[in-house]
Every structure is written in C-alpha cells, then in structure tokens.
C-alpha cells in the first residue's frame, strides 16, 4: 500500500485492493480512522506482514466492520485479526486454513463468517460463543464432526456445511430455533440406521455417581473429597424424556434419524445413558428398523416446528 494513503485520503471509508498481487498491508492502514470496509481478496497475502502489527491498538480495531481476505494464502488466522472488536463481517474463503483458532470468540460483533473452501478439519466449540453470528459458511472443507456446543449460536440463521466429511450431526442442532437454512449435500451422511455405535461400560465411580443423582442421596461438600463433589456436578441428563437417568463419562452413542420438514431423514447423534434407554416408544426387544421409524415420528414434530428450510439438495 502506498505510504501516503492516509494523508491523501483521510476520510477513506471503503478500500478495495482486490486482485492487485499484494503480499503485505502495513502501517499505512492504521491512520485511516474512517475506514469501515477493507476488501483485499485474490491477493498474495498470508505471510508475515499481511496485516499491520499495531492493528489491535489502532482506531481501526473498533471501526472496521467488513474485512474480505478471500482468495489469499492464509494458512492460519493472524492473531492480530482477532483484535478487530468491531468487525461484523469476515471472509477468509478460499485460503489454506487447517483450523479455526479458539480465540475467534473475541470477534464479539461478528455476524457473518465465511470460511468455505479451506482445509479445516474441526470446529472449536469456542466458535459458539459469538453472540451475534447469523451466517456461518463452512462448506468445502474437511470437517468430520460438529461440536454440540454450536447449538448455542442462538442468532444463527444460515449454516452452510455442504461438501465436508460429516457422517452425522449432533442432535442439539434441533435447538437452533432461528435457523432457516442448512446445507448438507456432499457429506457422507449415514443413510442406514446404525445401532449402538459404542458403549464403554460404566466404572464403579460412574455407577455410584448415577445412584447418588437419581436417588437424590443428600450430600454436602464436607461429606466428600473436592474431586468427587466436582464430579457429581458434571452429571448430564439423559435426553430421553421418559428416563430420569443421568450419565457422567459413559454413554451410548446412537444414531437416530429425524425427518426435517417431512422431507429428509437426517442422522443425529444421541447420547443416552445406557443401551436399554432408547426411546419413549420402544421396548427392549424391538427391532432396530421399527424403532427408528417411531423415533423419527416423535422427533419429526419437534424438528418441523424448529427448522423451516433445509437445503440438502
């Protein structure tokens, strides 16, 4: 960037340097107090010096709203980028990212995040801490699973997951009440019902913990070592509404199919307290296929209210 930029154009609000072969953007940016949109796509950015060092302290840190760095060579997200507290829209599509830094949660104002076309293999649960995120694009990556915490993205309207390596989704995805669009095509989603994927039998500690919780055995912090008090506080409730069970570390991972909008059957991963605890409608001896049918009907009515448009394609 030319050195005199902020002197010639002190009132600059939008700067588009896309397709110019830029390899770095330096301090010339820092003294543009009115800059809210910076478009630098299709360049050769990605190495050191791609973004100026003092970015976190500059007025730009709170005034920049839109940053487009798609089509560059970023192999990781520069830490200084995460200091842009006012950023509403960030695009890093078509770069060389292998992961998303957990500190992405610092971009508190982010509403639009485009990370399609990278080499991302997993999503950090911290991504779910972005309170204003409305539009999340993760298509064309190598993602194998979605953390259930993503269901905490209460503002999420649109989620793009197509062309990844997903075999199932966490059932918590049903909690995204504002989600209007979901793209899932091009994932090796499990088509057939898969029963009881894994079950590690519970330890004695787990069994004792479950009994304390389900029988409401009273205890105070002075009764138990601190580690056990903490352990007992980590109990998860079995999602089966007819089972009052809890579990700590040992649970059954089971795939259930849910009909969305009466159209598509999606495999959702359920964590249940035991293999016997499977569905409100089942009995222990039921076959797996009939079980999946009745489960789907039950969940379908819940899902149909929650999700409006599913783009499986």
């Amino acid at each position: 960037l030319p050195a005199g930029l902020s002197q010639w154009f002190p009132a600059l609000e939008v700067l588009d340097v896309s397709g110019t072969g830029l390899t770095e953007m330096g301090a010339e940016l820092l003294s543009l107090p009115c800059l809210h949109t910076l478009l630098a796509k299709n360049n050769r950015l990605g190495g050191p010096g791609s973004l100026p060092k003092g970015l976190g302290q500059a007025p730009l840190a709170s005034s920049l709203r839109v940053l487009n760095l798609s089509g560059n060579r970023f192999a990781d997200v520069p830490p200084v980028l995460l200091r842009l507290r006012g950023l509403r829209s960030l695009s890093l599509g078509g770069n060389r990212l292998h992961s998303i830094p957990p500190d992405i949660q610092e971009l508190r104002s982010l509403e639009f995040l485009y990370l399609g076309g990278n080499f991302i293999t997993s999503i950090p649960p911290e991504l779910a801490k972005l309170p204003s995120l409305k539009y999340l694009v993760l298509c064309d990556n190598k993602i194998q699973s979605i953390p259930p915490q993503l269901a905490q993205l209460h503002s999420l309207r649109s989620l793009s997951l197509h062309n990844n390596l997903l075999t199932y989704l966490p059932r918590e995805i049903l909690n995204l009440v504002h989600l209007e669009e979901l793209s899932l095509r091009g994932n090796p989603l499990v088509v057939r019902f898969v029963r009881d994927l894994t079950y590690n039998p519970p330890s004695l500690q787990e069994l004792a913990g479950r009994t304390v919780k389900t029988r409401n055995v009273p205890y105070t912090p002075s009764d138990l070592p601190e580690t056990l008090v903490r352990y007992l506080s980590l109990a998860s409730n079995c999602p089966n509404p007819k089972c009052g069970g809890v579990y700590f570390d040992s649970c059954v991972r089971q795939i259930k199919f849910v009909d969305f909008c009466g159209k598509y059957r999606l495999p959702l991963m359920h964590y249940l307290c035991s293999p016997e605890c499977s569905s409100p409608y089942s009995s222990a001896s039921q076959s797996s296929t009939s079980q999946s049918e009745s489960d789907s009907e039950d969940e379908a009515s819940v899902a149909a209210h929650r999700m409006q448009k599913v783009l499986l394609g």
Binding site: N42, G116, G117, K134, R157, E181, R185, L312
Partner: protein
Amino acid sequence: FRYTRNLVDSGNGKFNLMILCWGEGHGSSIHDHTDSHCFMKILQGNLKETLFEWPEKKGNGEMTKKSERVLRENQCAYINDSIGLHRVENISHTETAVSLHLYSPPFDTCNTFDQRTGHKHKVTMTFYSQYGERTVC
C-alpha cells in the same frame, strides 16, 4: 443468505424471464423443469452445471451424474426434462455470479431430488423480487 430469484418479465403469461444472484458458495438443489424449456445465460462470474440422470422409478440409491461443466460469462445453456436434471452452483469462494433465466411456459413448482437416494419432493418456487420490488412472504 441463499441465491435469489428476481422476476424481470412474465411475457404475457408465455414465459418467465428472471435474474438469479448467487453469493459465494451458493448452489441450487437438483431439480427438474416441469415440462418447460429452460435457457440460462451467465451475466457475471461462473456457474457449475452438473447434469443428472432421472432416478429409477423406485429410486433408492445415489443418483447418477451424467456430466458437469463450468459456464463462463456470456455462455448460454439449455435444458428440459427429456435431457435430464441438473444442479447449478457458484463454486467460487471469492466471486459472486449472476445469471439470466428464461422459462417457457412459466412454472412455479418443480421437483427437487436428494442426491443420496433419488427421492423427489415437490416444491413451490418463490421470487425474492418481482419487477424490481421486494416480494414479501
């Protein structure tokens, strides 16, 4: 947050002329064309068209891809139900795309297909805008 369909002209009921605006990564489902002619011209950017065979009557397997191509600016394409089904996508993560579509006779419902199973589902198509005015629904 998905591609928009913007009606430009309804040709006295004989055709629909519309402009589709595709954001980065936006794609359509696999769909048919309800016995109509469909012409498409790329006005800006590039769109990938993947052709599929019609699934078997009791389709229960992955749909068969016939061919795929990337249509460049100013290129035209044509399809109708006897040719097959297609999916149209903007596969760019950096550029948007704009296409002009002519359907004759006009239609507002079509079938979308699940690529994994061949199951079809009838859908009603909606417009984001008509004659420059945002369609609220």
